[in-house]
């Protein structure tokens, strides 16, 4: 009886292996048609019109990527290509490198990745290109190591977010009053750059009645961000606004304001995912938030790659090309911004799901 159970378990295990196999052979088979089961395939694939693009995000199970993947998939398939995506569970090069190597082995035409490290991936990117695979970064870039990838498509220019957000916020505050900033950690580069921009803008004439009283640090932890937000509200009784350049802080600040019953008196703004701030926007606790259009990032990436592969688009600074959203351009270091920052408010927050 027990031996039977043992046998059953072995069968289950083997079935599990094959079940996993069964999930992807269709995609794999299609890729093989295009490349004859040999390693280098770019030329063959391009001639057929059928090409394979693999997108390797930061990690798996991360809803942030869903719209990007959808946009990417839509544009690649519209161009007649095959789109696959896979990722490791930890946002680490340890996990990304074997995945990239496997794609090289399979002979895909294009690898697009959101790099988990600025420098650890140099060798594997070179390996890919030596094997004839096109290499792009989509989402984030390998700053300082741009020569290892061909081009990068970024969602939006981060500095622009800073300018746009402080302007929207200042306007909603009526260009006067005290505001505090709730940031992540003291050395997080994105947030610090945003804060620099806030200070730069607020130094101007138009904003002379506004003042940043203090910067609080929530360390991107929900707990701490929450208590810091409350600390800010209590310490500055005349506080009119809380600016939060990170979603964690934003959600904490909005919650703190709602708990204290101060919606309308203390305004909250910053960067946040639409799904996380939707409730607050609908309940009028906040007026909105700012981020970027992730679906657009995917679409632009796909269309760019298609034109590089099939329309002879030259990858060089200054090259311009057409996308479904209008014209896009390669700037310094072959970087492309998919679009401008996206401001969410009551009217449009339901159009987005991430």
């Amino acid at each position: 009886m027990k031996k039977l159970l043992v046998l059953l378990l072995v069968v289950v295990l083997v079935a599990g292996l094959f079940a996993g196999c069964a999930k992807a052979p269709a995609a794999d088979a299609k890729a093989d048609k295009a490349d004859d089961a040999t390693k280098t395939s770019s030329e063959e694939g391009a001639e057929d019109g059928s090409f394979t693009v693999v997108y390797i995000p930061y990690n798996t199970g991360n809803p942030y990527y869903d719209p990007i993947i959808q946009g990417f998939k839509d544009s690649v398939e519209a161009a007649g290509g095959i789109f696959e995506t896979t990722a490791s569970d930890t946002p680490d090069p340890t996990g990304q490198i074997p995945v990239i190597r496997a794609q090289i082995q399979k002979g895909v035409d294009v690898i697009a990745l959101d790099p988990t490290s600025i420098d650890a991936l140099n060798d594997v990117m070179d390996e890919a290109r030596a094997a004839g695979v096109r290499m792009f970064c989509v989402g984030d870039d390998v700053l300082g190591n741009e020569e290892h990838r061909e081009a990068a498509v970024i969602a939006t220019e981060y500095r622009q977010i800073g300018y746009d957000s402080i302007e929207i916020f200042a306007e909603s505050m009526g260009y006067e009053g005290q505001l505090a900033v709730l940031s992540a950690t003291t050395d997080s580069p994105f947030q610090n750059e945003q804060i620099e921009i806030y200070k730069e803008v607020l130094a101007g004439e138009k904003y002379s009645n506004m003042e940043i009283v203090e910067v609080f640090y929530g360390d991107d932890e929900p707990e701490k961000s929450f208590t810091e937000a409350e600390a800010a509200i209590q310490k500055y009784p005349d506080l009119k606004g809380l600016m939060c350049p990170t979603t964690v802080a934003y959600v904490a600040a909005a919650q703190a304001v709602e708990n204290a019953g101060l919606q309308g008196q203390v305004l909250v703004y910053g960067t946040a995912f639409p799904n996380q701030c939707r409730e607050f926007i609908k309940n009028d606790v906040v007026t909105g938030a700012i981020l970027w259009d992730t679906y657009r990032l995917g679409v632009v990436a796909g269309e760019f790659i298609d034109q590089v592969l099939h329309d002879g688009l030259v990858i060089a600074e200054g090259t311009k090309f057409q996308t479904s959203y209008g014209e896009a351009e390669l700037i310094e270091n072959n970087v492309i911004y998919a679009g401008p920052p996206l401001a969410f408010n009551k009217d449009n927050v339901d159009d987005y799901d991430f």
């Binding site: 027990k2 991360n62 929900p222 929450f226 208590t227 409350e230 708990n259």
Partner: protein, 331 residues
């Protein structure tokens, strides 16, 4: 009546250990507060208290397992699995009665615990290895069965989130804290006052002797696993209330580790047969205090792991030293 007397006796004999823990907690709080004065505020105390219920409930389940001489390292995955199922119910209908979803999550957790217990007892295998395996199996199962995705904030009923806010509460204490204290009291009663509780201790102390006394060792073990799983499932809902979202990849990762740490700090012996609810709860509070202190002192989160490890080792070594000084032999 005599039961009450027995219980009172047990409370007054509450050993040096628990008092020691309370002392350590207070000392640590004061020291950190002196360095960072913002620590001395109701808000911060509330923040510390609010971070403990999830851990308390899971740790109580883990404690029970350890008492019976089993180690459960899949509790984090069970918590995530149950929370995802609960979340998916809310996603399809946000007005679904919260109490029912709590029940479903608890039952799901219990079932996964049952699976663990069955494998361990049916094949007489070491629980730590089995649960090491099932830890990953349950994570992956979420994807195979449900193509699990993150349950975003907007799908979670406002009333559930309110359970974790200080505003909606009894005398200023948020509901989830009261709930976790309630669970702790319940566990304490079960372990100290009921037959199954005594059997759990007996099985952990000396399984062979317990068997000779007519105790169904396998039955007890399975019950323990079901209980630990159920606790984790319940804790999954508390997580949803407190954190405001659930992610199938990251939720609960490392939770079992902290649960073991809390139980061990609280006096639960890895050899089995001993462990106190109060001790485990204090252990959770100490860990919560440490977590908050680290971020307030400006120490990077990077030091957390090192501290946890150090605390476990110190706690375990201290216990051994104390026990040998007092001449007891770990039973």
């Amino acid at each position: 009546m005599s039961e009450l007397v027995k219980q009172k006796k047990k409370i007054s004999i509450t050993s040096v250990r628990e008092l020691g823990l309370v002392a350590i907690i207070l000392i640590l709080y004061v020291v950190v507060g002196l360095i960072e004065p913002r620590f001395f505020s109701f808000r911060v105390v509330m923040s510390i208290m609010l971070s403990t219920p999830i851990l308390i409930i899971v740790a109580l389940g883990e404690m029970t397992a350890i008492i019976s001489r089993n180690v459960e390292v899949s509790l984090g995955s069970i918590m995530a699995f149950s929370a995802i199922i609960g979340g998916m119910i809310f996603k399809s209908n946000i007005d679904f009665p919260i109490v029912v979803v709590f029940l479903v999550a608890t039952v799901v957790g219990g079932l996964l615990g049952l699976l663990n217990g069955t494998i361990v007892t049916l094949f007489s295998l070491p629980s730590v290895i089995v649960t090491l395996g099932t830890m990953n199996v349950y994570r992956g199962l979420m994807f195979v069965l449900m193509d699990a995705k993150q349950i975003d904030n907007m799908y979670i009923p406002r009333n559930l989130i309110k359970l974790a806010q200080p505003q909606e509460s009894i005398i200023g204490i948020p509901y989830i804290i009261i709930i976790s204290i309630g669970v702790a009291v319940l566990v304490s009663i079960i372990l100290n006052q009921t037959k199954i509780g005594r059997e759990i201790y007996a099985v952990g102390s000396n399984p062979d002797a317990a068997r000779l006394r007519g105790i169904g060792v396998n039955k007890v073990k399975i019950i323990v696993f079901i209980f630990a799983g159920a606790c984790s499932g319940f804790a999954g809902m508390i997580y949803m209330a407190r954190v405001g979202y659930v992610n199938p990849v990251t939720t609960g990762v490392g939770m079992e580790f902290m649960a073991v740490a809390a139980a061990v700090i609280g006096g639960t012996s890895m050899a089995g047969g001993s462990g106190k609810t109060l001790g485990t709860v204090l252990g959770c509070i100490l860990l919560g205090l440490m977590m908050t202190s680290i971020s307030y002192l400006g120490i990077e989160g990077s030091a957390q792991k090192a501290m946890y490890g150090l605390i476990i080792i110190i706690a375990v070594v201290l216990e051994k030293i104390i026990k040998s000084k007092l001449g007891k032999e770990g039973r």
